[in-house]
Amino acid sequence: METEKIDNKNIYYPPGGILMWILILLELITFGIALIVLAMSSKENPVAFLESSSHLNATYGAVNTVFLLTSGFFMATTVHQFKKKDFKKASFYLNITMFGGVLFLILKSLEYYEKIEHGFVLGYDTFFNFYWLLTGFHVIHVLVGLIILLFMKRSLTKKTAMLEDVEASAAFWHMCDLIWLLLFPILYLVF
């Protein structure tokens, strides 16, 4: 396996690679603009937004934040272990990382189920349109991240993983954390 150190101080080699960081910035800008539009829309009908947002369960949001943050911690640990060439531990911590992502998806599914059961579906009102689109796209990112991590797990097992790939996968997974850290306060807490 390739574990040679990369000079991250070079502008072209941020941890995870320049293409991954361009993707991360574009994703953050896209979600950021959507959240700003959501905040602007709330000014048109603040009472309706307040009423709709009160149907969201902040506890679910907070617990999901903890799941993703803990998963992100274990992702960072996986990269550290890989750099130390302890592939067995790297693989073990990667399993915990993926478990955190799965827990996030389970709780999110439970939340979605409750919303659908109470009729707060896409098209219910402007707030819930934003809620479904923003959290839905985020869930897609988490699913894609989990698939990437599964491939990484496979290459770790086969001992064909390279440091660039491990760091790029980790950067994508952390991006899911970053997006959620913007979504959670604005959707669940601010209104």
């Binding site: 502008i11 700003i36 907070a62 943050l69 992100g72 911690f73 640990t77 954390d177 913007l182």
Partner: protein
């Protein structure tokens, strides 16, 4: 299992103190933010405080877990500029 668990905890504790402190800080900030939002939701500047705490969490994840602290200053600057613009615009709108 009895052998694996202490070994697993020990290896994390030894090698990644900074990451552990960051994780604990992030969880504490998440709890504070959620409690603050539910307790003082009628206060005037509560939204700005919640958003600022969330931006602190964002910076901790980006710089510590994503190792942005080791990257070229261009990437650090671009992330800080993004966050500053986002916070200002959201702060003005909300």
């Amino acid at each position: 299992m009895v052998i694996i668990i202490p070994n697993f905890i020990f290896s994390i504790l030894v090698m990644q103190k900074k990451d552990i402190y960051t994780l604990v800080g992030l969880i504490i900030l998440t709890i504070i933010t959620a409690l603050f939002a539910t307790t003082f939701n009628s206060m005037k500047y509560v939204s700005i405080i919640i958003l600022t705490l969330s931006i602190v969490k964002f910076v901790l994840v980006a710089f510590q877990f994503m190792e942005l602290k080791k990257a070229h200053s261009f990437w650090k600057a671009i992330m800080i500029i993004y966050l500053a613009i986002f916070l200002i615009v959201i702060g003005v709108v909300v």
